[in-house]
Amino acid sequence: MANWVPLWLHRLGSPPTFYRFAGAVYPWALGLAFVLGAIALYGGLVVAPADYQQGDAYRIIFIHVPSAWMSLFIYGVMTLAAFIALVWRIKLAETVAMASAPIGAAFTAITLATGSLWGKPMWGTWWTWDARLTSELVLLFIYLGIIGLCHAFEDRRQGARAAAFLVLVGAVNVPIVHFSVNWWNTLHQGATIRLLGPSHMAASMVWPLLTMMGATKFYYIASLFSRVRTELLAAEGGKAWVRELAVAGVAGGKA
């Protein structure tokens, strides 16, 4: 027991093994995300009653909050992977960190867009310089900066390592931004609006929310593995295992 776990992890770090492992996990993760998402949508759109204050508009919560949570969770995973990549120089960790960035940016963009669509009927405005909204916008810029830096280099690995460093800088920066924006709001008496009251949501509203959070987690796994597989193919284009795979793809019809 004590021996085969690290051995297995070590093997998983090698690109061909991870490629196969990710390929095996991918359909299951995507399928689970799909099933859980469908259940959550049914619960959120049909079963859950309308909110007594916000009417049916609150149903945006079932995608807005899971997306917001994922935008931070993915940054956490990315920070961990970037740290591992820089300290132990593991190529797979670099790939995981860089593959996470577009997914995180997608969830951040969804959070901003759905939050705006929720804010318009509730507050009467598409955008307000509230601490949480502003921090989320800054997070989107951080994600875009990481993606941009990664692609600005000719050499793929060098770009990934520089961007991994930027991930760590951003990880220090996000809490500081949140704190400073909070302070700024108290100074300027900005509109502080609480959308989510202290959690006294009905159970019929809570379970679809939690299910959707699970669905987005599985979706992240699926999308991450799909991207890592693609990156590995591109990075190891000349290696024997990729060539075999490409040739087998022609013979078998599907890679």
Partner: protein, 66 residues
């Protein structure tokens, strides 16, 4: 059914939000799949080119780091 679609007057906001959610995630799912297919095609094309270039009688050059 139409009451469900109207969402108590907030239908536009609710359905636009859900549409954005699904469209963005759909693009996010399809983009790497398309890119992977392109990479595989390029690798196959390169293998084919190398096979053509190799003259009969000479051993295959190892271009593993191409």
């Amino acid at each position: 059914m139409s009451a469900f679609l109207a969402m108590g007057g907030y239908g536009f906001y609710v359905w636009t939000a859900f549409a954005i959610f699904f469209i963005v995630l759909l693009i996010d799912t399809l983009a790497p799949l398309a890119r992977r297919r392109r990479h595989l095609r390029e690798i196959r094309a390169r293998i084919a080119r190398q096979a053509n270039r190799r003259r009969p009688g000479t051993p295959a050059r190892n271009e593993s780091n191409a």
